[in-house]
């Protein structure tokens, strides 16, 4: 069993710690800081986020995605064929993202994720997992003015993202995770969601690959997900308790990303809650095939809560393993 995170980490701490990234962006916007100086601050706060995740006791971490404005535009904005559009509410959250506008054929120009991963891994004693935005979710949350067909758009995104994945593998990245949550709300699109993931991950070797979902359950599609060319399937058990039944009903052959700590609420779980959930999952998936993680990215809660939640998660995992905390 290992502990991990699902993606993003809150970008700024609360007082008395300084909100360095927020202040630096404001200064750059006022012309008091150059882009190069802002990039330097982004590097520094990324190193801090890495250190906090390690200190909390997490085994496989991310760079916190502090450079990302949102999951939809960080990578896609560098593709040919994409423009950045209006603010949209992200699913049922009170968080907003810029809508990618597809104005032409999508193509990869150069890697966005591999350089970030190399920087993060250089500054981490733990393995850094790279997060790749899911092609289906990108297609579902884009304004499509070119393909006029969600399936074609998802496959076009998958083709361009595949080059991000290949660049990550070439750089030496050992953990690659595709965050593709929106499929849980549009299960009728499963067939081409699956095809897009195949296009994105099939044949990737040398790295462990995963597909994560959140905010609801995978009931009804979990059996087909066993055939995805991915090693890990991530499920949200906080917002999608029906995932328990779905898990019980399927012959689960992958590693399971067990999303048990609620990434959307400040209510703090206990280590015992986490250990209990691990015990329950272990009856269905052997514990050596478990990743224990929050239910989603942690940016929905304040930084200090995120750090506390990760500590509880790590303690719960140790408790479940019978290791004295």
């Amino acid at each position: 069993m290992q502990t991990t995170v699902v993606g993003n980490y809150p970008k700024i701490p609360n007082r008395p710690r300084p909100a360095r990234l927020r202040n630096a962006i404001n200064k750059r916007d006022r012309g008091e800081l150059t882009d190069a100086e802002l990039a330097q601050v982004k590097d520094e706060v990324t190193v801090e986020a890495i250190a906090e995740q390690i200190e909390a006791g997490i085994d496989v971490i991310t760079d916190g995605q502090l450079r990302w404005d949102d999951d939809q535009t960080y990578v896609a904005r560098n593709f040919k064929g994409i423009e950045i559009g209006a603010l949209q509410r992200y699913l049922d959250t009170n968080t907003y993202f810029r809508e990618p506008e597809v104005t032409g054929a999508i193509s990869f120009v150069g890697p966005t994720l591999a350089p970030d991963w190399e920087f993060a891994q250089k500054n981490s004693t733990k393995p850094i997992k790279a997060i790749v935005p899911g092609p289906y979710t990108l297609a579902a949350l884009s304004l499509d003015k070119h393909y006029n067909n969600r399936e074609k758009l998802a496959l076009a995104y998958a083709g361009a993202l595949r080059q991000e994945v290949d660049a990550l593998v070439a750089a030496g990245c050992k953990h690659i995770q595709v965050n593709d949550p929106v499929i849980v709300f549009n299960k009728e699109d499963y067939a081409f969601f699956h095809a897009a993931i195949v296009k994105l991950l099939d044949g990737v070797s040398g790295a462990e690959t995963g597909v994560y979902t959140w905010f609801s359950d995978c009931a009804g599609i979990l059996p087909q997900m066993q055939d995805l060319p991915a090693d890990v399937i991530g499920l949200d058990f906080a917002a999608g308790p029906a995932n328990w039944d779905a898990l019980e009903a399927v012959s689960f052959t992958k590693r399971l990303g067990l999303g048990v700590v609620d990434g959307r609420n400040t209510r703090l779980e206990t280590a015992a809650d986490v250990a209990e959930a691990i015990k329950r999952a272990s009856a269905l998936v052997p514990s050596e095939r478990l990743y224990v993680n929050p239910s989603c990215g942690l940016e929905y809660v304040p930084r200090e809560t995120a750090s506390e939640k990760l500590k509880v998660l790590a303690q719960g995992a140790r408790q479940a393993e019978g290791v004295p905390a």
Binding site: I25, D69, L87, F97, T266, R267, E299, V301
Partner: protein, 346 residues
């Protein structure tokens, strides 16, 4: 019920005017107030000093609205930072017991806000908005609306650490907001606006809960209730939304170039309700042309009679400057007078 009078007017007990003009809620805080709020937060000035400046700014906005010629006024929310946080522990407010302000959470880009936390069972803390309403109403002969945030939005935009389900939290919150409604009514307030901008967050899953919460907040209370619902997928909730137990629903018509008219045409609008029509976009500095606003009014009048229409900006004006806000209100009022003349109502 409002008594029939010969001269059509908006009184403190009801409006018989064609195209009653009003505003949605907030206005920009003058610089001296923004500075004072930050000094108060740092402990440099006391509550009485801040109170004086909040009242000064409130009077300013009351006079602006009188000068422009609105029929029903808002107090401008000079004492509030955020429509949920004000009731949850924001500096200067009287917070609902069981709520506090949490750490910073990112909204988008480089924008962050302090998201409130429900940490314990909610209890009514005594009047939260009554003093300011009474002060504002005391400044003017025109009616001033009482302004509250609805139970669904209060819970949706907070973390909940205390209740087993969202439903439990929302319905208990409705009990608290109802207490404040009762206090406003006791103070003599007739028009009470209960804003629910989060109402369409989960259109399929729990829109009924939002309706149930509004019933729990207003049923059996003798006042005229309005609600403001802005942006978001109104089309997904329209047929349910119009069942909200309020006298008036107002929507941001201008922002969608009056596309909501199609919904009214297709699904109707309840006979017993007034419609609030947002006619100026609050997100742009650009001041609409009077002709443009008149055009929107004419289009709306094809579907509903003037007596059932209230005219207002799309949303609160707090993101616009004093000058922009005044100009946007003036364009709106000028257009209303022109249309009233056109239909022989003035």
């Amino acid at each position: 019920m409002a008594t029939q009078t010969k001269t059509k007017s908006a009184t403190k007990s009801g409006s018989s005017l064609p195209l009653t003009t009003t505003a949605v809620g907030s206005y920009a805080k003058p610089d001296y107030l923004t500075k004072a709020r930050s000094e108060f937060a740092q402990g440099k000035i006391d509550r009485a000093d801040l109170d004086k400046l909040e009242k000064k700014a409130t009077e300013y906005w009351i006079r602006v609205q009188e000068k422009v010629g609105l029929d029903v006024l808002v107090h401008g929310e000079m004492e509030r930072g955020d429509m949920v946080a004000y009731f949850s522990g924001e500096e200067g407010g009287n917070p609902i017991k069981g709520m506090k302000i949490g750490g910073l959470v990112r909204s988008y880009g480089n924008r962050y806000y302090h998201k409130p936390i429900i940490f314990d069972k909610l209890e009514y803390p005594g009047p939260m908005t009554v003093d300011m309403w009474r002060y504002a109403q005391g400044l003017t002969d025109r009616p001033v609306k009482g302004m509250l945030t609805g139970a669904y939005t209060m819970v949706e935009w907070s973390f909940d650490e205390a209740y087993p389900t969202r439903r439990d939290a929302v319905l208990d919150m409705a009990r608290i907001i109802r207490r404040e409604v009762e206090e406003l009514v006791k103070a003599g307030c007739h028009y009470i606006q209960i804003d629910e901008p989060a109402i369409h967050t989960r259109p399929e899953a729990d829109f009924q809960l939002a309706i149930e919460a509004m019933h729990a907040t207003v049923d059996g209370i003798n006042a005229e209730f309005h609600t403001h619902i802005c942006y978001g997928p109104v089309e997904k909730v329209y047929t349910e939304m119009i069942k909200l137990p309020v006298k008036q629903i107002h929507l941001a018509f201008k922002n969608t170039d009056f596309a909501y008219l199609d919904l009214i045409r297709e699904f109707g609008y309840p006979e017993d309700k007034d419609l609030g029509v947002g006619v100026t976009d609050i997100h742009t500095r650009f001041i609409e042309d009077v002709e443009d606003v008149k055009d929107g009014l004419r289009r709306t009048l094809k579907l509903l009679p003037a007596e059932r229409l209230w005219i207002l900006p799309d949303c609160g004006l707090k993101t616009r400057t004093v000058e922009e806000s005044e100009a946007k209100l003036k364009v709106m009022v000028d257009a209303v007078h022109a249309i009233r003349k056109e239909i022989g109502a003035e």
